[in-house]
Symmetry: D2
Subunit: 148 residues, 4 copies
């Protein structure tokens, strides 16, 4: 890693840790950080009894929120505030209480103003056990964001 990459990594970590510290909803969900790099963040949670829907399985909103937090963290790692424009999610498999979910967010493409992310949600870190495919488009503002 050269000096420029090292600087990018330091910014990424400061941004994500600063966001996480204020993110009350992610904290309630028990979200933890698994990986933090420029434009790539992984988050994790364990599905609890208070996260189920009316059929007793994991509420889609919980899976979505895990992916959405990973996207928000990843897309802000460059130190400029980004705003989410659009998200979509599909659910290949049901998720149950006790499952450990990991959301892997990575930038697929970007322009000056927009960035396109893919977030894959895996059960037990198993690449063959995909429980959700999430995609997000964000708008990069000019506002600098660099927590102290």
């Amino acid at each position: 890693m050269n000096a420029a990459e090292d600087g990018e990594q330091i910014v990424a970590e400061r941004v994500v840790l600063g966001m996480m510290a204020k993110d009350a909803f992610s904290q309630w969900l028990g979200i933890t950080l698994v990986r933090v790099e420029p434009r790539a963040v992984s988050t994790r949670l364990t599905v609890r009894e208070d996260m189920v829907n009316g059929f007793g399985v994991c509420h889609g909103g919980v899976t979505f929120s895990l992916a959405d937090s990973a996207l928000a963290f990843a897309s802000n790692t460059h130190g400029r505030v980004t705003v989410s424009i659009e998200n979509s999610i599909t659910y290949p498999k049901r998720v149950s209480v006790g499952d450990v979910l990991t959301a892997v967010a990575e930038e697929e493409s970007a322009t000056n103003r927009l960035a396109f992310y893919r977030v894959t949600v895996l059960r037990s870190d198993d690449p063959s056990d995909v429980v959700a495919l999430f995609r997000g488009t964000v708008y990069k503002t000019n506002q600098v964001f660099l927590p102290a």
Copy 2:
């Protein structure tokens, strides 16, 4: 309302109330039911301090979950279990702590196996203050669902 419509309405209410009673995550979010009809349900919540993201505004996952619950309730009102295939959401406006959000779910179109829903999320029931546009596609299984 004729007898058939009356029967549909009774099924819709039993299904939604039965789902709501078990939906621990919707309960934590403080979601309440505003309207329950066949293929049309409205849900509401007030954004709390513990629902914010790393920038201090309402976490996208909260808005999504409100809409997703409305969709789940509405798409099950016919008494057959439906499974969510795909959801998408856009966020025209930011949402803050204290805002009262109402998600209005309505069926746009349906085939024998699939149904397509639109969910509009309004602030303070104001039709001109749309904070999120959500869309969902669901698959209708053959499994009957009618809580006692």
Copy 3:
């Protein structure tokens, strides 16, 4: 209609007719304009033999293109160049050769920089015969567009 509204209508018509005149692909598709108003345009085509896919029904790309043209026209009616960020489409029903399709594009919501459109594609102008539900998010640039 007051003077300001009249001015908006004139701009909308100039923009859409100017775009249509250069839009070689829409011309090949036989797209015609049914309605042109600020932020609301309807387009129409008749499905031809050379528009089918490998199963002999209307290619999804044809239905998409009809809706996409309606969106492009509608979102440029204010005289500033807009760029499409994201589109999604669902297909409740199959479309056959000879069907007349009308795409009705309307703005659902907008901010200073973004606009969110819904496009509904009907068969034979029948509101109960929805063959596609399309949604588009566009970015409004500062570039003025007003054909002579």
Copy 4:
């Protein structure tokens, strides 16, 4: 490649060639096949003058159609008829007349009834020059499809 894989490959090729032979719209677009494997097909076209929109750049519907054909071919390679439920597309970059576009469709995940595909559209086969990100969800019917 063992005998089972060899059989799958033969089915995939028969299905895709059979579909392509009837797909009048893909033929008009000048779409050619670059790769045909079970659950993975790549298609290609060169953008022509008659494929532009009102701003003189490639119509979004053309890029969408290239990706949609790749999805349709790929998702039918197993020899059962699939029906498209939902597609979404984003456009990181503009496309111009003369550009050569390749759509790479691959299955991301599948259940018994549904399959989820990602289609990436590249310019000049350059993995760093992504012009569109497309995603499709399909429903697998029980109807066998195996052209003679």
